[in-house]
């Protein structure tokens, strides 16, 4: 029922209106209950192989190194906390949180990031009312799959091209953040466009994210690079603990 001739300025104006709301459009994850059942199931199906492969990886590596599971659990806890930390920059609004997918992918690799993300998202859904159980699959796909692979891929590629690790980490954080939100917008638009145009809905939701996510992505890039710098300057040997992360 979306008016096909809707002028682009209506879309823009709606987006501007959304920014006036007290909190950023969809927080980080798709809230419980937004996706209709078929879409919820579809995204579960998409997420499943990534998490399953990550678990296989985990099983294999913890057979070789029994300390591996505690390590993933602890790093997972750290990433969970990081993704809950309110970003302290006033211009980005009050409720913005980093996604943490980029730094996670650099540290423990994209497969394990999917596992950790699935757990973190379950905990957030159950105890913090962030995201949800029906939308878990979709949220895993946007953060633990799209965010993680983009972050990891960008980091690896940037290193291959000879960029210094600081720049590579910045780009990884930036693009993984954007990828996460782009995927979220896509998931939302696909489910919500109703009988109207998918592209209009998609661009509208994407636009609604832009004012907060564009700067947030940049901040996340700095966060990713800064955190890595901290670890490198204080405990460089830790980065070698998980050789299949992107840093080796």
């Amino acid at each position: 029922m979306i008016d096909q001739r809707m002028p682009i300025r209506t879309i823009l104006a709606t987006a501007v209106l959304l920014c006036a709301l007290p909190s950023p459009a969809f927080a980080m994850h798709i809230a419980e209950g937004i996706l209709p059942l078929p879409w919820a199931l579809l995204w579960y199906a998409v997420a499943f192989p990534f998490v399953a492969w990550g678990l296989r990886d985990l099983r294999r590596r913890s057979r070789e190194a029994p300390w591996f599971k505690p390590l993933v659990g602890l790093v997972g806890a750290a990433l969970f906390l990081i993704s809950c930390m309110p970003i302290p920059v006033p211009t980005a609004g009050t409720c913005s949180h980093p996604s943490g997918a980029g730094i996670a992918a650099i540290l423990i690799g994209p497969w394990l990031t999917a596992v950790v993300a699935s757990i973190a998202l379950t905990l957030q859904a159950l105890f913090l009312a962030h995201g949800g159980l029906t939308t878990l699959g979709a949220n895993i796909v946007s953060m633990g799959v799209a965010g993680a692979w983009v972050g990891w891929g960008v980091f690896a590629a940037a290193r291959r091209f000879g960029l210094p690790w600081f720049a590579a980490a910045f780009l990884a954080g930036l693009f993984s953040d954007w990828a996460t939100y782009a995927t979220t917008s896509l998931e939302l638009a696909a489910a919500l466009h109703g009988e109207g145009s998918f592209t209009t809905m998609f661009s509208l939701i994407l636009l609604a994210f832009v004012p907060t996510q564009l700067p947030l992505g940049i901040l996340e890039g700095f966060l990713c690079a800064g955190a890595l710098k901290f670890i490198r300057s204080r405990r460089p040997e830790l980065l070698r603990a998980v050789p299949e992360g992107g840093t080796s």
């Binding site: 901290f230 300057s233 204080r234 405990r235």
Partner: protein
């Protein structure tokens, strides 16, 4: 002037734990005050209220005569400085120097002034030789001192410490207490410390607040506090060992002891009064200490 004035303050955590229940707590400028209480008595909660990390549910807190909520962060943190119990949780730069410079840099001081402050604060805690060292190579005692230096570099008027001697060995403990005493006596810094170890307090603190389950059980100079053995036990604390000895001798053996000596020096003086002169062996090295 009054450095800290806490009136009728209560605090309840979100999950319903009532950590403080109507507390009065007053510290004059230049005092050395100890908050004494068992685990979970509310010391850390009180401290976090004093530095604005928590907000009171009820009551009023004044720092240097101004309501805490009316102070800008910048102003507040140059009035009160907090040294955390675990130095590991406080040292977040890579090297000692960088960590000490963190606060002054955030005050936008010129670099020369930053360096001056770093030097001074490291000197104050006898840690100048550590200046270039990496934080995670420091020993526990060194970390404790460096974390104190980082706070001193902010030049707070009131220095608050959460369990400053926890985890330190006897030599480190004595060094830390001497250091605080020096800051208090020579630099005229107001010192507030939370602790549950009692033995050193009588030597250092002007005044003690005994906390128990969020309430002030008693307040006063140490002689006053430790006279109330039952109150002390009720607060899950104990007398300093020396006082305990004197208390038992007085109470159970009927030895006539005046008041209750709290320090080794006092106990010695009193005991010597009781022991007949002719029993004392001459020559072994008279007086000294």
């Amino acid at each position: 002037m009054r450095a800290v004035d806490v009136r009728e303050v209560s605090f309840t955590y979100d999950d319903g734990t009532e950590a403080l229940a109507g507390i009065h707590f007053r510290v004059e400028e230049g005092e050395f005050v100890a908050v004494l209480g068992s685990n979970g008595s509310g010391k850390t909660t009180l401290i976090q209220l004093l530095v604005g990390l928590l907000k009171t549910n009820a009551g009023r807190i004044e720092i240097g005569g101004r309501e805490i909520g009316s102070l800008e962060a910048e102003e507040l943190y140059q009035r009160v400085g907090l040294v955390f119990q675990n130095p590991n949780d406080q040292l977040f730069a890579a090297t000692v120097e960088e960590d000490c410079a963190f606060g002054p840099r955030n005050l936008n001081l010129p670099e020369a002034e930053v360096q001056k402050r770093v030097t001074e604060s490291l000197a104050a805690v006898a840690a100048l030789p550590l200046r270039g060292r990496a934080i995670h190579h420091l020993s526990f005692g060194e970390q404790k001192r460096v974390s104190l230096a980082g706070v001193l570099a902010m030049r707070p008027a009131v220095l608050i410490l959460d369990e400053p001697t926890a985890g330190l060995d006897p030599a480190g403990e004595a060094q830390m207490m001497q250091l605080l005493k020096k800051l208090n006596r020579e630099e005229k810094m107001t010192v507030i410390l939370a602790t549950h170890s009692v033995d050193m307090l009588p030597l250092f603190a002007n005044r003690i607040y005994v906390l128990d389950r969020g309430r002030v059980l008693q307040e006063g100079p140490s002689e006053e506090i430790f006279r109330h053995q039952e109150m002390i036990v009720r607060a899950k604390l104990r007398l300093p060992y020396v006082s305990r000895l004197m208390y038992e001798m007085k109470r159970h053996d009927g030895v006539p002891i005046d008041g209750l000596p709290l320090t080794i020096g006092e106990a010695r003086a009193q005991l010597l009064e009781l022991i007949p002169k002719e029993m004392i062996l001459p020559g072994i090295e008279e007086s000294g200490s």
